[in-house]
Symmetry: D5
Subunit: 147 residues, 10 copies
Amino acid sequence: MNRIDVTSLILEKKRLHGLSWKDISVHLGGSKEWCTAALLGQMPLSAKQAHTIKQLLDLSDEAERILQEVPLRGCMDSAVPTDPTIYRFYEILQVYGTTIKELIHEEFGDGIMSAIDFSMDISRVKDEQGDRIKVTLNGKYLKYKKY
Amino acid sequence: MNRIDVTSLILEKKRLHGLSWKDISVHLGGSKEWCTAALLGQMPLSAKQAHTIKQLLDLSDEAERILQEVPLRGCMDSAVPTDPTIYRFYEILQVYGTTIKELIHEEFGDGIMSAIDFSMDISRVKDEQGDRIKVTLNGKYLKYKKY
Amino acid sequence: MNRIDVTSLILEKKRLHGLSWKDISVHLGGSKEWCTAALLGQMPLSAKQAHTIKQLLDLSDEAERILQEVPLRGCMDSAVPTDPTIYRFYEILQVYGTTIKELIHEEFGDGIMSAIDFSMDISRVKDEQGDRIKVTLNGKYLKYKKY
Amino acid sequence: MNRIDVTSLILEKKRLHGLSWKDISVHLGGSKEWCTAALLGQMPLSAKQAHTIKQLLDLSDEAERILQEVPLRGCMDSAVPTDPTIYRFYEILQVYGTTIKELIHEEFGDGIMSAIDFSMDISRVKDEQGDRIKVTLNGKYLKYKKY
Amino acid sequence: MNRIDVTSLILEKKRLHGLSWKDISVHLGGSKEWCTAALLGQMPLSAKQAHTIKQLLDLSDEAERILQEVPLRGCMDSAVPTDPTIYRFYEILQVYGTTIKELIHEEFGDGIMSAIDFSMDISRVKDEQGDRIKVTLNGKYLKYKKY
Amino acid sequence: MNRIDVTSLILEKKRLHGLSWKDISVHLGGSKEWCTAALLGQMPLSAKQAHTIKQLLDLSDEAERILQEVPLRGCMDSAVPTDPTIYRFYEILQVYGTTIKELIHEEFGDGIMSAIDFSMDISRVKDEQGDRIKVTLNGKYLKYKKY
Amino acid sequence: MNRIDVTSLILEKKRLHGLSWKDISVHLGGSKEWCTAALLGQMPLSAKQAHTIKQLLDLSDEAERILQEVPLRGCMDSAVPTDPTIYRFYEILQVYGTTIKELIHEEFGDGIMSAIDFSMDISRVKDEQGDRIKVTLNGKYLKYKKY
Amino acid sequence: MNRIDVTSLILEKKRLHGLSWKDISVHLGGSKEWCTAALLGQMPLSAKQAHTIKQLLDLSDEAERILQEVPLRGCMDSAVPTDPTIYRFYEILQVYGTTIKELIHEEFGDGIMSAIDFSMDISRVKDEQGDRIKVTLNGKYLKYKKY
Amino acid sequence: MNRIDVTSLILEKKRLHGLSWKDISVHLGGSKEWCTAALLGQMPLSAKQAHTIKQLLDLSDEAERILQEVPLRGCMDSAVPTDPTIYRFYEILQVYGTTIKELIHEEFGDGIMSAIDFSMDISRVKDEQGDRIKVTLNGKYLKYKKY
Amino acid sequence: MNRIDVTSLILEKKRLHGLSWKDISVHLGGSKEWCTAALLGQMPLSAKQAHTIKQLLDLSDEAERILQEVPLRGCMDSAVPTDPTIYRFYEILQVYGTTIKELIHEEFGDGIMSAIDFSMDISRVKDEQGDRIKVTLNGKYLKYKKY
């Protein structure tokens, strides 16, 4: 059994119990974004969280142990994603990649937005002409070291 | 002369005049994000904007005409970007791609966040432990049509 | 069991029962194009449709649940398709890609044809010199937002 | 001078004279779709058409000769297009590729839609909820030979 | 069970019964080239042929049904084949690709050799300095439509 | 000046003088297939042939020297060709690659068809239902050495 | 069971019996290079050799049959090998590829070194400063045919 | 001017003076293999050698300086070479890669053949049935360190 | 059973017994870096080490044998790694690759740092502003041979 | 003029003046590693450093301005480097990538070694059996945020 097997199992049990990711995140403690990523195999759970999810979804002891390990990250099976919902974010990079780079450097100097000391929030913006999705990426500015 | 030549020219003139992207966006009228993307060759300018930038940066008539055309979009020269500042956003997709998909579908149903009826905002969040970069992506939710 | 398993199962049962895609779409309610795509793993079914297909093809409860989930889309196993029937459409893109772009922009302005608010129709055109296939793509024009 | 140079020149002259693709196709004789593709380097012109375009856009004798040659076709510079307007058509292939294959085989038998004995039409469909783009692909059905 | 499984099974049974492709093609009715391609998963059999092969090689009813379906074509597992016998044909394309194009256009005009209304023959040419392999490709000339 | 420059020059001069490949091959001495390949940069000319072509197309002494060198072969600029006329031959490999391999081995044993001791012929086959293109590949059978 | 399964089985049995490739080649009759390649799935065995290896390693009748078939060659699972021992040979191609080409052409004329009428020898060269590996590639010179 | 420009220049001058690689290597001092590789941009020359080649081929002072720098190595412009003369060596890797690995490990233990402390020799082997090319690769065995 | 299966088994048993890599390396004898690489399938164990690990983790005799074989090295499943912890090292190559090359050549001459006669050390550097990771790569300088 | 042009110019002037990277770094102020990377186009110079290098190497005002901009990073022209000196570091990743990941997580927890708050040192280690190259990578440990 490896992490990919555990993820498949979680999806199967989630479907069987009719739970939403939000429901599960309330049990786990943590934002829905972090918890979903963790259960999809991208973040390690704490011992307590692993125990909770084991009981909630009726997993094995081995699965509980695996969920506490740091996973090998990466969820896209090709360099360019094929699923349209995911692709739109890749497209944003194709259109705005150099813009993001220029504006980060103009405002902050030579550095990056951390993808480690980082959080994400996905929420609904009510709008009469059709609701909007707001995705907020929030990462620490890290400055290139000179030495 | 093509759009890539015009972008190079704009970078050269911007550097020569010591202008920032924000400075230029004030002249053009529009957010700094949209204006920077446009001047980097990803958005067409209106006739008025093209005339303004021509005068501001001392461009030719041909450049002015080219800037009003819809460009062939795409700013990354390989499927996976090599520049670290841009790469972090690709990495976020690698870690959170399936999470974003799941949470959009859970909240909105089967559809996508538009990358066309879309805006982006990059701003600084003051923080004692080091300032943070906040990138807000805001796109209309588009629902898959059943027919 | 995942969506790919369900698709294989559907193909197996369809073959066993000697049903055509059109036959099945009459049961499901919807165009033959949408229904075929859905059963090939590209669209989610409604609860009612999933129940219908379960009974029609004698599927399990788990399959019924899986069919209602939004699938990870993408049906080509390499960037360039190898099957000649599918490849011809890729070839059309190689020959007409920039033409489509130019003519959409000339007629509509800066934007795209939606692939989400979209429908497709495939039909036969009688012709003495050999019948023809007509594929009609119909998508909403979406305009690039300026901000 | 090669075909790519001629295409660049045509784009430059078209821009200078403020002509639309439709305008030009009226001069050339032929649909706007075919003429645009030809001028973008994907179809050869007849001697008469080449002479017309030479005079209309003030091209050289060499360009006139080159325009009558069968070009090396292919307009996308990577296997997966990066421009969003063009990408949507690739996405349609990712979502509907196997569906198109199944329905052509169900209706016609084992064969393909020709991309050679083929025409395309792009037109506007008025719609109160936002106009739609209709792209019609029309190709002869070619049956696989048994021998 | 899918088409790939059926192909493996056919290879296993062919080996067990010590049959050659030519032997089998005599039973099936058709050239050795077409029959071999069909049994390797690239062409659909008629109902009668599928029944014949089922009995000849002792296959299941399901295999018989699958053999009558139009397969997803493509037999190379990478864009450039690694097997030397197959590679030589790819090499011929690398050396003669543009030559073939030029000579087809010079003799026939703008069009292609059909790979659908197409037949192939592989035969031995006796030669004192070592026998030669003659591969004849025979396809209908298809002319590009102007419209 | 390198071989690619010489090829461009030859195409330019051929166009200017209104010569066909067949015309040129008569001057050079050799089949139209070999001569076209040579002039497109895939085969070296003899000293005499290089001199002939130099005079026929009015080339420089340097070009004459370059034409006698063995070129770096390979005429496709991507692993999978995009031009439809050339692509059909790649498609034949995708459909018949393993068939060719099986039949060569069945008839000849373990070996290959040489692409070096090789000739090609492209000719027209008159046919009431539309003329056909016949491409004959003729290569020496080379047997794998056991040692 | 296919050739890859047979190779795995051979490796397992070789390990279990504690045999070296040299040991096995003595039984099979043939150089250690050819025999190893054959048993790793790159060359077909004769009926006698297949019988010998079947008895030596206790394989099944089916394996014996499979070993006599011409395999689908190619042992690297990516275009550029990742294993350092194998990679060094790819590196030699990166550094010396054009040199090899130039010197073969200078000495022999336009042609290649056959990889079919070919043998290889790997041996130890004693050296006080550390022993050396000598790999000798020996292939027939094949001349490009003019026609 | 960079190393690639110098290589082009060397090829041009070599052609003009009608020199062979062997001729040049006699002047430079060193094997024809090493000298050819160096002049094709894969090895740095000593100061004396660079001066010699400058005078022999009438190069500039800058070229002389550049030839003494360690070049960025790599002579193939795609991962898989397209030229048949070079490709055969890649094919040998595809067929014998794992064999080479097994036999090096069996004879020497865990390590590699150095591609740095390495020499190559290309020579003609007279043979009544057609001369053969012998390529000898000779590299130091380097043992993996345990620590 | 192959090496990949053994690696999976080791990970499973390590998890079950709650052992760290450091714990295991103490049993095996050797640095934690070498031992971890070996157990992850990149280095062969000695007979004694294989026996130790067999008893420590309760493996089979076959696994013990496999662990003593030189593995097919390479641990990344795509050319560019997707896991952020591993990617940072690839990024360092993207930013510093040519710098490393220049400085090795400036200090040592034309050669490389061996990746075979090589050791690695990973350790913690205490730092008030956040601890640091120090990775030391130590390889023998190997000089390019001139011949 | 862009950053790539400036790098070429710097290499040309460095060669002309016979300066080493160490010499230049003494003028610039900073480690030889950082300075070399900066001058090879991977790091921005301060205004003072840009002025110094302009005078030292006799560059233009435009070059001085460009050197102060944050560059688009990435120095390898393919995903897998072809130069042997650079490749060895890629190979280390192939052999030790997962080992590095495991040991960082075992010692520090879930996080990465920063490639931004990072320094590198390349130095010689005297050794009787041949000097060694020591490359020290030193980056801040960054912990994955839970939220």
